[in-house]
Symmetry: C2
Subunit: 215 residues, 2 copies
Amino acid sequence: MARAESAAPPRRGRPASTVLARPDDEPTATALLAAAVQVMGANGYHGASVRDIASAAGTSPAILYHHFDSKQGLLVTMCDRGLDVLVRATEDALDLAGDDPADRLGAIVAAHVRVHMESQRESLIGNSELRALEAPGRALIVAKRDAQQRLFDRVVRDGVRRGAFTTEHPDDAARFVTAACTSIATWYRPGGALEADEIVARYRAIALDAVGYRR
Amino acid sequence: MARAESAAPPRRGRPASTVLARPDDEPTATALLAAAVQVMGANGYHGASVRDIASAAGTSPAILYHHFDSKQGLLVTMCDRGLDVLVRATEDALDLAGDDPADRLGAIVAAHVRVHMESQRESLIGNSELRALEAPGRALIVAKRDAQQRLFDRVVRDGVRRGAFTTEHPDDAARFVTAACTSIATWYRPGGALEADEIVARYRAIALDAVGYRR
DNA sequence: GAGGGTCTTGAACGAGCGTTCGACGTGGGC
DNA sequence: GCCCACGTCGAACGCTCGTTCAAGACCCTC
């Protein structure tokens, strides 16, 4: 077998970046994760073949089974790590926010929106491929997603209790907001008409309106 | 081949209902559409095999190609008709609504929410299987979806222009609202804690808050 | 009763699927 | 210098995929 370049390993220099990678991952596992994000994000779990993913990672299909249990195991790893990133970002934003309810909601909305813009494909997979998850892994992922929703529920309820938000349905309003912010991943394109910061600012303002915050 | 019952044709009595069916469709085409809604709604386009769909419809796989061009053609038909139902319901609601901006937005939100609750699987497919659509049909579907979004844009802009809504970003708020209402299809279960009417009422109220309507 | 169009069928096609396996190259420990 | 463990590979496994096809069942028309 002859390749175009002689010395360099073929996978070097490939674009293999994803927020899902962790420092102690082996390079090939990282490349597979990044490739799976690309291919599954574009075609969905069932629409992405192991050969597609391996090819995008610059390796052979067989290597996937050295680093993961199966294609399903790869999906679970992706969803699990993706939700960790999201929950972590939201919790960090809440820790840094002050005591004002509007500031707190604004902070977690901004964090949620930013993750869904910056890790667009990872977010898409985490939201639309839940149905492709099989029994053991599924419960884990659903639990983490519920935890993220409960963060929002708590902040909105707290704001209502303290009189800052006037919505009559705190939990529904919280779900309303998270769903709207999550959907950004379906349409956002870097370099579009609006700067990312501007989108964050607008969604923060609309979210505050949605919970009945009076400016 | 022997079947359990002797006289009745096997497909009679099967649950084959979908809002996508039209009066002049042949019964088998209707059954295939209903089955495709069930199977694709549960597993996605790539996760639903032609054999699965045919089996759910009580027919053979080959029959699909007598009533549709291909599996892809079936998907296009489903998405096309599903969006027709949605746009039609929204336009009808607007026609029946009065002149008051809050009434108008409330009416289209209620219609949008109701369609996504009552035709849950059809809506899920229309929203999450856009990426499985291939070139010729895709543009048609995207155009219809954009038309639905523009209905909301217009109502919100109109309300802002007339001073009823105070949001500073009408188009973003409109997209915020449609995304939140669309997502109902992902979690709503008939017979859940909330009555459908109650969900509609709450989402209408939150949507009005989101565009800055002052009660 | 014969003829023809429509609807339906089981069987088969080649292609691609997820997964497994045995062999190969390589680099650090003895 | 030997060796083993590890990451990697091409090739192949059995299976399912979307699709086609020739033939049968049905029903309306003459």
